[in-house]
Symmetry: C2
Subunit: 350 residues, 2 copies
Amino acid sequence: MARSIDLAVIPGDGIGPEVVAQGLKVLAAALPSDVKLETTTYDLGAKRWHATGETLPDADLERLRGHDAILLGAIGDPGVPSGVLERGLLLKLRFAFDHYVNLRPSVLFPNTPTPLAGNPAIDFVVVREGTEGPYVGNGGSMRTGTPAEVATEVSVNTAYGVERVVRDAFERAAARPAKKLTLVHKNNVLVHAGHLWKNTVDRVAREYPQVTTDYLHVDAATIFFVTQPERFDVIVTDNLFGDILTDLAAAITGGIGLAASGNINPTGEFPSMFEPVHGSAPDIAGTGAADPTATVLSVALLLRHLGYEEQAGRIEAAVTADLAERDGTPRDTDTIGDALAVRVAGSVAG
Amino acid sequence: MARSIDLAVIPGDGIGPEVVAQGLKVLAAALPSDVKLETTTYDLGAKRWHATGETLPDADLERLRGHDAILLGAIGDPGVPSGVLERGLLLKLRFAFDHYVNLRPSVLFPNTPTPLAGNPAIDFVVVREGTEGPYVGNGGSMRTGTPAEVATEVSVNTAYGVERVVRDAFERAAARPAKKLTLVHKNNVLVHAGHLWKNTVDRVAREYPQVTTDYLHVDAATIFFVTQPERFDVIVTDNLFGDILTDLAAAITGGIGLAASGNINPTGEFPSMFEPVHGSAPDIAGTGAADPTATVLSVALLLRHLGYEEQAGRIEAAVTADLAERDGTPRDTDTIGDALAVRVAGSVAG
Ligand SMILES: CC(C)[C@H](C(=O)O)[C@@H](O)C(=O)O
Ligand SMILES: CC(C)[C@H](C(=O)O)[C@@H](O)C(=O)O
């Protein structure tokens, strides 16, 4: 475990800088005093694009590559055409740094309102493939803008790419109490990609006899998310299905204000990137209404990835306690960040 | 409005024949006495495939083409490899008969349990494109089964295909009280297809100034389905997103036991096909536990499509009343079908 962390910070747009500030506050509170934290802030996102037209120049990508990890707030504003920053910055980072495990835990914390009736026990994690599928950008259009236009999007799936993320998911499932892995795909329609995914899971499953495996079509999975979320433990799925399912997962566990994610390169060849699932929410930027909890939980994932398991656990425990004890009075971004930092620091002392 | 209906019936597998029998019972009860109903049953589905290896021979397709409409129960059993009947029968019918409007209304009926807390007022309809997108079967794999396998799935979208379904959705929105149309796509990632969809909606919108339009990414849409389903009126979306969203829509409105659908060829060139959203549910086949309501509601869509608006409304009113007055005692398939047929017949007399 490194005794120093060289962190790249991309605060981004809208509420991004606000929640990142709180994430850094809690990170500082969590780190052992002898661990040196160095941060470098990168000006990337809508502001930079408006000013210079740049999304992610090669020079920035090169510099980012040298860090231990990246903390990202949120990217985008309504003035940027849809897709420009997503493809040119966010997805470019995920692909360039081979973030093939997009890790998204879903836990219904105590005292947290869910739109679901009853009080289901939700505690699963989605292992979303991060470098393939319909996200590869392998599409195009011809006769664009005419009545004869044809637009395509190609989902590319490789045995190499599927197997490595499936193995990662099995490892995670094997380490959890329930030891259950559900593959979500649509193999009755997307038969080629579906076949590759299903076969890979079936084959790797033989190496993990202690893990129970299950298969669900993506449409059926959304039903179970709202009727029986307890049935899930680890879910492994493709890039697009994972995108959809994890927003739904966030919704049933108290909203995207609480949903953390890690874009992980498990080999360590490239820096992994941690970010809240939510967007830049320009409508509430500057009002103090942004909940920094998702970013703080992303910082916990970051620490776990870097080997600081105990510190990660402490942040998660602080969030759990903070949510359990909140009384419904609205708190601003800073107040929540302070409360979490104090709890984390207190648990160090104690 | 035709004074006779020449109906093709594909009962299919599992609970398919059971729910179709009830659908036909209610259809007979709803039809004016001078309308001649003729039905032809087609033996298609898993049983046929097991016996002959056939999914949908050309001869059957040709004969089916001659009918006014098709009522389908459910297709499939666990003994058939995934994809064989979906691609070879169900999707083949949808594509061959150019069912470009896959119509899926979502209504939370009175006295119907929803997994959502509170009692949201849900009344929207999804207009799912039915002949394009990732469903075209335009994929393949190379080096199949080896560590170097590459599997692709191509989503094909045409201006022709998108515009016609978007126009249909605008027509439906304009005819509803709320007059609101939401396009759901993922145009920040699937930029080519997304651009075509978004541009088409924006362009056609100018012809419908009375309709309010809105855009949501598919991931965000799933959030609103569980947190604010009231916000939706008409949703237009691609084949795959529509598949996912309508299962979720069914889940929040009491389950797939109540979800009806129409695969509609609006031009009337080919017969339209009506089917419950649920599958063949082999686990409950033969037990009488299947709820035929989704099929009965699909019969209402069928009647509306054929011009029997009043009769369609009567079936929907019968379902509404039946659900409102049920007391929670479990009823078997036949009992529900009888109750609905009696109500429909009674409302004719009255
Ligand atoms: C912003 C967008 C490109 C991104 C995605 O689709 O992956 C987001 O929705 C997410 O889930 O992180
Ligand atoms: C069975 C399957 C091919 C089908 C689909 O994906 O369209 C079903 O899920 C549906 O929604 O009608």
